[in-house]
């Protein structure tokens, strides 16, 4: 079973106390719904269904992705930083595959 592609994250390495940081995430995935309306044979459904963003182990943002999410899912959200923290971003798909990337933001 092939693995999921390596996600790309844009997150600052440092922040000031109380600063709001922007987090951008992108992962390559075809997001095949398995739906065809033209009578052709539909390919097997192959979708990323979940993104979970954790900060120091606590879930701060998650997404349930359905058919209307585009291929190569892209998400941007905003987090207020009070102290140095470790982020982990995990995607999982309908085939049970998962991929996680981590990042540390140092608050000083």
């Amino acid at each position: 079973m092939s693995t999921l592609s390596q996600p790309r994250i844009r997150i600052p390495r440092t922040a000031k106390p109380g600063e709001v940081i922007e987090i951008r995430t992108l992962i390559e995935h075809r997001q095949e719904t398995g739906i065809r309306r033209d009578g052709t044979t539909a390919p097997e459904r192959d979708m990323l269904t979940r993104l979970i963003a954790r900060r120091d182990g606590e879930t701060i943002f998650s997404a349930e992705l359905r058919n209307g999410t585009s291929a190569n899912p892209y998400h941007v959200f905003f987090v207020r930083m009070e102290r140095t923290a470790d982020f982990a971003f995990t995607w999982s798909d309908t085939k049970g595959r998962t991929v996680t990337v981590t990042a540390r933001v140092v608050v000083a």
Binding site: T33, I35, A63, E64, N67, T69, Y74
Partner: protein
């Protein structure tokens, strides 16, 4: 430009004033299916128009990658924050786009993403506040090339 903007605003307001039933759902999705999807997400809660801003291009050249921003007015404190934002399509083959679960760790109740749009239609955003209130916004767009393979 001013005129066009006014036209657009008027259109958006008119759309907001309509119940779901007034948005015809055609491409393989019935109104009942859309309504069932909404109820599955927010239960029996009353849905009010309100403090949700849904931004989409008026015309999307590529329906497979349509940029979307949804933002809700909320202080995002542990006592008063937006717990979830749901996005639904009214004329895609299926209504579900995505559900976002938020927490007070987020500085704003705002998410940017990219969606698929099969044909000209309205997109609906439902925001659930921590006190149980559900508010909605809708935005319509045209599409040059549909984004759902068919």
């Amino acid at each position: 430009m001013l005129y066009r903007r006014r036209q657009f605003t008027r259109g958006a307001v008119a759309l907001l004033a309509l119940p779901w039933a007034a948005v015809p759902a055609r491409a393989g999705m019935s109104e009942a299916e859309l309504d069932a999807a909404i109820r599955e997400l927010v239960g029996d809660a009353a849905i009010q128009d309100g403090d949700v801003r849904l931004s989409l291009p008026a015309i999307a050249e590529n329906g497979a990658q349509v940029p979307l921003t949804v933002a809700v007015d909320s202080p995002m404190t542990p006592a008063d924050y937006v717990t979830a934002i749901h996005l639904l399509a009214t004329r895609n083959p299926t209504p579900g786009i995505a559900s976002f679960r938020l927490s007070p760790a987020l500085a704003r109740a705002e998410v940017q993403t990219r969606i698929r749009i099969a044909e000209e239609q309205a997109v609906i955003a439902l925001a659930v506040h921590a006190d149980g209130r559900v508010v909605r916004a809708a935005a319509s767009l045209k599409v040059t090339t549909g984004g759902c393979l068919s």
